[in-house]
């Protein structure tokens, strides 16, 4: 009995030097796989998807799981990035890099302007307002002649990058996203974000500048979502309003984060891997995929609210990629 209580109270934070070495080794190994092209094209395709979903899901998790701003409108930045890349590469014949930079720039700009309005709303009002804004943009692009209205635009990148270089870019975006989120959470800002998630009023009272924190998180999320999405849409080769601004993007991100574990950095990684393989299986049942994803998400929320990684951490008493800086035991 005594032993069990001791074990229950102890939480091991895995973040010391060995952990760092393991992480760097894994990342290097992944880069090596990309560079040497030992993986088949098919495997590369899966890896690209997983990397990009991780990046986008980490950003959604940063908004929802760590800051408490559940956004249902991240597809706004996905669409904007897709169109920016299309305009830059197909119309202006710029390189992919410049197209991505343009997408990120446009997204940051839009998120800055929108923040002024959206931050007037809190909680659920904010969530639904983000969705409304994304819908408005979809309608706008549907009627905008310059971007091809309903039929959208093709994205033609010349010269078209080889698949392994796309894989390297995706991996880089993914690693940057994880590192940025991790470092952000370990600073004073991260503590402020968590405080805001738990109680905005109290956080504000102890001196957290709520507006500035929210703005920072939104801009970071917009930028990385745009970066990941532009690669994603370049791979698809076409962007049109119903695809770029589709709510299914957010459905996927919510699935990944909720199933993997909201409020953990490891969660989106696990969730993305599951999602990409599940997607492959679901492709055999056209029409059912969103239904099944929705059912799994609801069941997870009801019966496994912490997600896979969150539940494992709780059961096995460890924290991975945690904002906590030392292991500790909970005192009664």
């Amino acid at each position: 009995m005594e032993k069990r209580r001791l074990n229950n109270g102890k939480i091991k934070v895995l973040d010391s030097l060995p952990m760092l070495i393991v992480c760097i080794a894994v990342i290097l190994a992944l880069y090596l796989v990309c560079f040497t092209q030992i993986a088949s094209t098919n495997a590369m395709r899966y890896m690209i998807q997983i990397f990009l979903y991780i990046a986008m899901a980490e950003m959604w998790n940063l908004l929802s799981g760590f800051t408490g701003m559940t956004s249902l409108g991240q597809q706004l930045y996905i669409g904007l990035a897709g169109y920016s890349v299309a305009v830059a590469t197909t119309m202006l014949h710029l390189s992919l890099g410049l197209g991505m930079a343009m997408g990120i720039g446009v997204s940051i700009l839009v998120s800055l302007v929108l923040s002024l309005l959206l931050f007037r709303m809190e909680g659920m009002y904010y969530s639904i307002a983000t969705w409304v804004v994304a819908e408005i943009f979809e309608k706008l692009f549907l009627n905008w002649k310059f971007v091809g209205q309903g039929s959208g635009m093709t994205i033609r990148v010349e010269p078209y990058p080889r698949i392994h270089s796309i894989c390297i870019i995706s991996l880089t975006i993914c690693v940057c996203a994880i590192v940025v989120v991790y470092l952000l959470l370990r600073t004073k800002v991260g503590l402020g974000l968590n405080a805001m998630r738990d109680d905005v009023g109290a956080a504000s009272a102890v001196g957290v500048n709520v507006f500035r924190h929210k703005l920072l998180v939104c801009v970071i999320a917009a930028a990385f979502t745009a970066a990941a999405a532009s690669i994603f849409l370049v791979n698809k080769g076409i962007v049109y309003p119903e695809s770029g601004f589709s709510i299914s993007w957010t459905v996927s991100l919510i699935f990944i984060v909720v199933v993997g574990g909201s409020g953990t950095i490891g969660g989106p990684i696990v969730g993305s891997v599951i999602y990409v393989f599940l997607q492959e299986i679901l492709a055999r049942f056209p029409g059912w995929s969103n239904i099944i994803l929705g059912v799994i998400t609801i069941l997870t929320i009801l019966f496994l609210p912490k997600g896979i990684v969150g539940t494992l951490q709780q059961k096995l008493h460890f924290d991975i990629f945690s904002a906590k800086r030392f292991s500790y035991s909970k005192r009664k």
Binding site: G68, L72, G123, M124, Y125, I128, I291
Partner: protein, 280 residues
Amino acid sequence: MYVAQVIINGIMLGNVYALLGVGMSMILGIVKLTNLAHGEFIVLGAYLSTVLAPLLGIHPILTLLITVPLMFLLGYLLQYLLIGRAMKKGNEPALLVTFGLSVILQDGMLMFFLADSQHISLPNGMGTIQLGSLEISTLHLMLFAISLVTMAALTVFLKYTYTGKAIRATADDADVAALSGVNIGRIYAIAMGVALASAAVAGLCVGMKWTYDPSAGSSYLLIAFVVVVIGGMGSIPGTLVAGILFGLAQVIGGASYGLPISYVLLLIVLIVRPKGLFGK
């Protein structure tokens, strides 16, 4: 005279908008939950009426006798078995559950009814009534009447029945209501049932006025949201006024400027009165 015609058209249209928003407004005000599936429930109501009217050989409006209790039951069960449980885990899980429901419903209807747009056709053709130089279509007049009757019924229900009083008490302070012997879980379930019943009525009106398809839910949610934010959540008169304002904006702006004007209206209300015109 032209102005009078525009105003009448705007009010007629606005009433339908108010009807779209009233269920969502109730849920926001009472259960303190954003029901992201409200648009899909409206579409579901429209489909039920579309299917039932020819099947039973009755006037579309009479299908309400079946769809309203059916949707009430659906709402009651969903809240009792699903959403209520998620609400115990916090606001965000509940929101995500309604979001999941909306996705499931939308794709489910897409598989079941296919993507073709539908319309509820009325058995005897609809004419117009001439009032001096004003023209009012009987369809609009009928929608206007349905909407007003629904609003009045909701107001009477909330104001004078015992359950209605319990609902209002819960909306004001759930803890104190629980202390006075109100079964909160049951009240929430009834509120969700009433909201879905109003969605059934809204669905019928939407189906008679416009065409719809399984993916139309998000645009109804959009309208409902705008109406709720302008009117203030939980307020039926607020919803009505906001709906009419929104309808007027649409009619005055026409096809090309209607939506931008409405969104500017929304933004102004958000900046000046974030809680809505009639919000507490």
